[in-house]
Assembly symmetry: C2
Homo-oligomer: 218 residues x 2
C-alpha cells in the first residue's frame, strides 16, 4: 500500500518536471541538484563554488532545509540571488516547489541555478526535479561504503564529489575501496576528490562546472 | 495532498505500534531505536555496545539498510541473534516490519532489542515503531549545527550520542555550540560524547544502557 502511495507522488512529480525543463530550455539556464547526507559539506561546496564561479557567470541558488535558514545565511555574503525553501519536515524537494521558485527568478538574467537539496542520501535521489545534473556529495568521515549502501544516488549522479579528503589520515577511509564500489555502480561518472574548506582539488570541480555552463549556453 | 498521504501512512503505522508495545511488555523486553545520518557511526556504536553488553544481557539486533547487508556482516562476530531488513529503497522503518521481525524472535529469551534504523536524520524520526527509546547519533564531522537543523529527532530522543569526538581537533566543530543548541531543543536529554571506535566515553553510554535494561526487568 505504501509503495502505491509512493508511486502516486512520483507520477504527480513527473508531470511538473517537463514544465520545469521547458522553462530552463527557453532561457538556456543550466540547473544542478546537489544531494548528500547531513554534514557532507554541501554548503561548503557551494561556498567554494560561488567563490570560483560567481564572477564569471550569473548564478542563482535554491537552498532547501528541513528547518532553519542557516545555510542560506552562510551564502548571503556572495550577493547572488538566493531562494530559501523551508520544507517544514519534508525530506526531499519536488518539481512543483522548484517551478514556484523558478517563477520568482529573473531567468533571462541567469546562467546557472544550483540547488542544495535537503540533507538526505535516500529520498532526494528518487525525485527528478527537472535538473540537468544530480551532483552526489559524499564525505570521507561518512566511510567508504556509501556508494554500495546508497546506490540509487550514485547511479543517478552526473558527478560525484568526495569531500573532506583532508580527514583521510585520521579515519579508516579507503579511497580505493570507495572508487572501486563507485565504478561498479556508475562506471564513467567524474569523481572529484577535494576539500571544500581547504581548497585542495576544488579547481578540477570548477573546471568541470565551467565547461558544463558553457556547453549549456552554446 | 502529499501531506494528507503522509498522515494516512502515519495513522496506519500508529495502529501497529500498540501491538508491538504489548508484545514487548509481555516479555519484559526493552527496545531501542538508533537513528542517525549515513556514516554517523551507528554500526560502530553497536559494535562497542555489543562488546560491553552481550555477556551481561541477552541482546538481539534488528539491522535495517536500504541495500546491502554490510552492517549485519560487521555484527555477526558477536554471535547474537541478528535480523536483517533490506528496505529496498524505503527511507525509514515502520511498526509492521518491526512486528514481523519480533514474531521471528525468541522474545522470552531476550532482554533487549536494539534496532539500527536506515541512515537518515529525517524520516525515521517521524515514525514511532513501538520502541521504548529513540537514540540519536550525530558525529563531529557532520558539524555542530545538526540539532537546530534536524530538531524533530533531537526533540524525540531519549539519549543523544555525539560520536567521533576524536576528530574534534581536525574540524571546526564547536562542542559548546552543539550542546547549547541541543539544550534549547531538549533540555534534559542525556548526552554521551564518545568515540565508538577509539573507546573514549563509551563506558558512560554503557552504564546508562545497563541501567535502562535493568529498570525494564524490574
Amino acid at each position: 500500500m505504501i509503495i502505491e502511495l509512493r508511486q502516486d507522488i512520483l507520477v504527480a512529480n513527473q508531470k511538473m518536471v517537463s514544465v520545469v525543463k521547458e522553462r530552463l530550455a527557453q532561457e538556456k539556464v543550466l540547473m544542478l541538484n546537489i544531494i548528500g547526507s547531513p554534514g557532507s559539506g554541501k554548503t561548503s561546496l557551494l561556498e567554494a563554488t560561488l567563490a570560483g564561479l560567481s564572477e564569471r557567470f550569473r548564478v542563482a541558488i535554491i537552498e532547501a532545509d528541513v528547518e532553519t535558514k542557516r545555510d542560506s545565511e552562510r551564502l548571503e555574503r556572495f550577493g547572488v540571488p538566493l531562494y530559501h525553501i523551508n520544507t517544514g519536515g519534508m525530506c526531499h524537494l519536488e518539481s512543483d516547489i522548484i517551478l514556484a521558485s523558478l517563477e520568482k527568478m529573473d531567468l533571462a538574467a541567469t546562467d546557472v541555478v544550483i540547488i542544495e537539496n535537503v540533507g538526505n542520501l535516500i529520498c532526494p535521489a528518487d525525485f527528478d526535479i527537472g535538473e540537468h545534473a544530480k551532483i552526489a556529495v559524499s564525505s570521507v568521515p561518512e566511510g567508504d561504503d556509501k556508494p554500495s549502501k546508497y546506490p540509487v544516488l550514485f547511479r543517478e549522479a552526473a558527478a560525484v564529489v568526495l569531500n573532506k579528503t583532508d580527514l583521510v589520515p585520521y579515519t579508516n577511509f579507503n579511497v580505493e575501496s570507495f572508487t572501486t564500489d563507485l565504478r561498479r555502480i556508475n562506471g564513467t561518472v567524474p569523481l572529484f576528490e577535494l576539500s571544500a574548506t581547504g581548497g585542495n582539488g576544488v579547481q578540477a570541480w570548477l573546471d568541470w562546472l565551467i565547461q558544463k555552463v558553457e556547453a549549456s549556453q552554446a
